[in-house]
């Protein structure tokens, strides 16, 4: 499975299903990192008559690691995850999955997914939610990288008995 960088471009869905999935996953990667406040704005974009296909709920996902980092999988421990699924009056369905117990966040993420699939409000979705979100995440990531990089160290080996 390829991974999508949060800073990577988010292609518009093309004809192929693969392209659509790639683009859709990129949107999901953004919403999974969004704060509750950042996602809340999507409610202003949603039409009336949204149906909860799956009422927001919280459960567990077992996180797996690999033995030695690269070997066979093992069960490391669980994480709380909230999920929801919604259907717009147009019939477009959206899914939301986020770490944590905030069910509102999961439903808002599902709304973003549904609106993105529907496509008719994609410009507002992009301008009001996704672009600012991507910019904020990129800023945070850049700051964090710079802070961590300042602690890069060069050790020198001292040779015993050297002049």
């Amino acid at each position: 499975m390829e991974t999508i960088g949060i800073n990577g471009s988010r292609p518009r869905p093309g004809e192929g299903r693969g392209d659509t999935i790639t683009a859709r996953r990129a949107v999901m990667a953004l919403t999974a990192k969004a704060t509750a406040f950042e996602l809340k704005a999507v409610r202003d974009l949603a039409p009336a008559g949204v149906v909860d296909l799956r009422p927001p709920e919280t459960g567990l996902v077992m996180l797996r690691g690999r033995i030695g980092g690269s070997g066979a999988a093992f069960n490391l421990g669980e994480a709380t995850v909230s999920r929801a699924a919604v259907r717009l009056p147009s019939g477009a369905t959206g899914f939301g999955h986020v770490l944590g117990r905030d069910r509102h966040r999961a439903r808002d993420a599902a709304l973003v997914d549904a609106l993105w699939i529907e496509g008719t409000r994609r410009d507002r979705l992009e301008n009001e939610i996704l672009a600012p979100l991507a910019a904020r995440i990129a800023r945070d990531e850049k700051r964090r990288t710079a802070e961590v990089a300042a602690t890069r160290v060069d050790f020198f080996t001292l040779v015993r008995g050297a002049d």
Binding site: M1, T3, I4, I21, R25, M28, A29, A32, K33, E57, T58, G59, L60, V61, M62, L63, R64, G65, R66, I67, G68, G69, S70, G71, A72, A73, F74, N75, L76, G77, E78, A79, T80, V81, R83, A85, F95, H97, V98, L99, G100, R101, E141, R143, R144, T145, A146, E147, V148, A149, A150, T151, R152, V153, D154, F155, T157
Partner: protein, 377 residues
């Protein structure tokens, strides 16, 4: 065996109210909020997430507050909470090679691709109490590298992969096709256990217990000649396959610590001399935990590498049965619950034994008196 008791409701209610009052402490001091614990006691939160075996920073922080800072009690609360939730499924295996690192060090290579990054560490501090933290002083912002260079994970290969490329370290075998890893939350742990189950138990095991066991191997109770090949701490993306969607969705990222311990191995009749591995992986920034875990993981592999398990850290039954502090505290602390009937039985038995003992001694004394008297005659 303890027995049920009735009554005491009023006293229990009062005890819990007193507990809440003592938890609050001096009411002249501001109450600590769960988000303050989450943000400022992060390493305690990390420990509770591991030993509670549930990644949820907010929940662990709240549990620490509720438990008055008793981290084992907090882990117990988290474990109890997790039993109330349904399981949606399992993540795809986390890719620690693609970690966005906060810290990455190696004790085996001075110059390694990607470099050494100290990150937020207690190492090289002087361990002097900092009284400045008592004052309302502003914490300075961290320094920033103007040109941080590539942060890409490809620039930071695993140290074990570097050795693997030369064939000097054992390869980590992939799972047999379609083989699901064991899960000790679904089936009781039995020994001997495969390495996947052992790692699951160690990941949720008590840090103090693992530390002591790891230390015991260093002091000679089953030495493994370890080097800390690499320790990396940072964020890893979580992905989860959603059957309704038919593809893998990103869930966000989690903080992980990973330790690759490289150990000497002289080889055996079948195996060439090579380096062997001990592995540690856990939630959050828990360097001590993953180092100890890696030492114990390697020690538990003694028999599979042709050695004889003669020391505690090498003994699966000993290590795996006693690593879980929630289980351990349950059994140790149950001793304070009512054992009145049991004890009455013991009491009656001891009284009877003493009576018999006294009677036997009296009979013996009488007999020896007879002998003495006979001898005197």
């Amino acid at each position: 065996m303890y027995v049920s008791v009735k009554g005491g409701e009023k006293a229990i209610r009062a005890a819990h109210r007193l507990l809440a009052h003592r938890r609050r402490g001096d009411r002249a001091v501001p109450e600590v909020a769960a988000d303050q614990i989450r943000e400022q006691l992060t390493l305690a939160v990390d420990r509770v997430m591991n030993e509670g075996s549930l990644y949820d920073r907010d929940l662990a922080a709240l549990a620490i507050k509720q438990a008055r800072g008793d981290l084992i009690e907090a882990a117990f609360l988290v474990r109890a909470y997790r039993t109330t939730l349904p399981r949606f499924g399992c993540s795809t295996p986390l890719d620690t090679a693609a970690m966005s690192v906060d810290r990455r060090i190696s004790a085996t290579y001075k110059d390694l691709p990607g470099g050494q990054i100290l990150g937020p560490t207690f190492d090289y501090t002087h361990r002097l109490i900092d009284f400045a933290l008592m004052a309302d002083s502003e914490t300075p912002l961290p320094e920033r590298e103007r040109e941080p260079g590539p942060a890409a994970a490809s620039a930071m290969p695993r140290v074990t992969d570097l050795l693997g490329d030369e064939g000097l370290i054992e390869a980590e075998p992939a799972a047999a096709d379609g083989a699901e890893p064991g899960d000790l939350t679904r089936a009781p742990l039995r020994v001997p256990a495969a390495r996947d189950l052992r790692l699951q138990q160690l990941a949720r095991g008590d840090e103090g217990f693992l530390l002591a066991l790891g230390y015991s191997t260093q002091r000679g109770y089953g030495s493994t000649h370890p080097f800390a090949g690499e320790i990396r701490i940072g964020e890893v993306e979580v992905e989860f396959e959603v059957p309704e969607l038919g593809f893998v969705v990103p869930l966000g990222s989690v903080a992980l610590s990973e330790c690759q311990m490289i150990n000497q191995f002289a080889g055996s009749a079948e195996i060439e001399p090579t380096f062997t591995r001990g592995y540690g992986l856990a939630f959050g920034q828990v360097e001590r935990k993953v180092m100890a875990m890696a030492l114990v993981d390697r020690a538990l592999r003694t028999e599979e590498l042709g050695g004889e398990a003669t020391h505690p850290a090498q003994d699966q039954e000993f290590v795996l049965s006693h690593a879980d502090n929630v289980q351990a505290t349950g059994f140790v602390e149950h001793l304070k619950l009512p054992h009145y009937v049991d004890f009455q039985a013991e009491l009656a038995l001891v009284r009877q034994l003493r009576r018999e003992h006294t009677a036997a001694r009296a009979a013996r004394d009488a007999q020896s008196d007879d002998v003495y008297e006979e001898a005197a005659q």
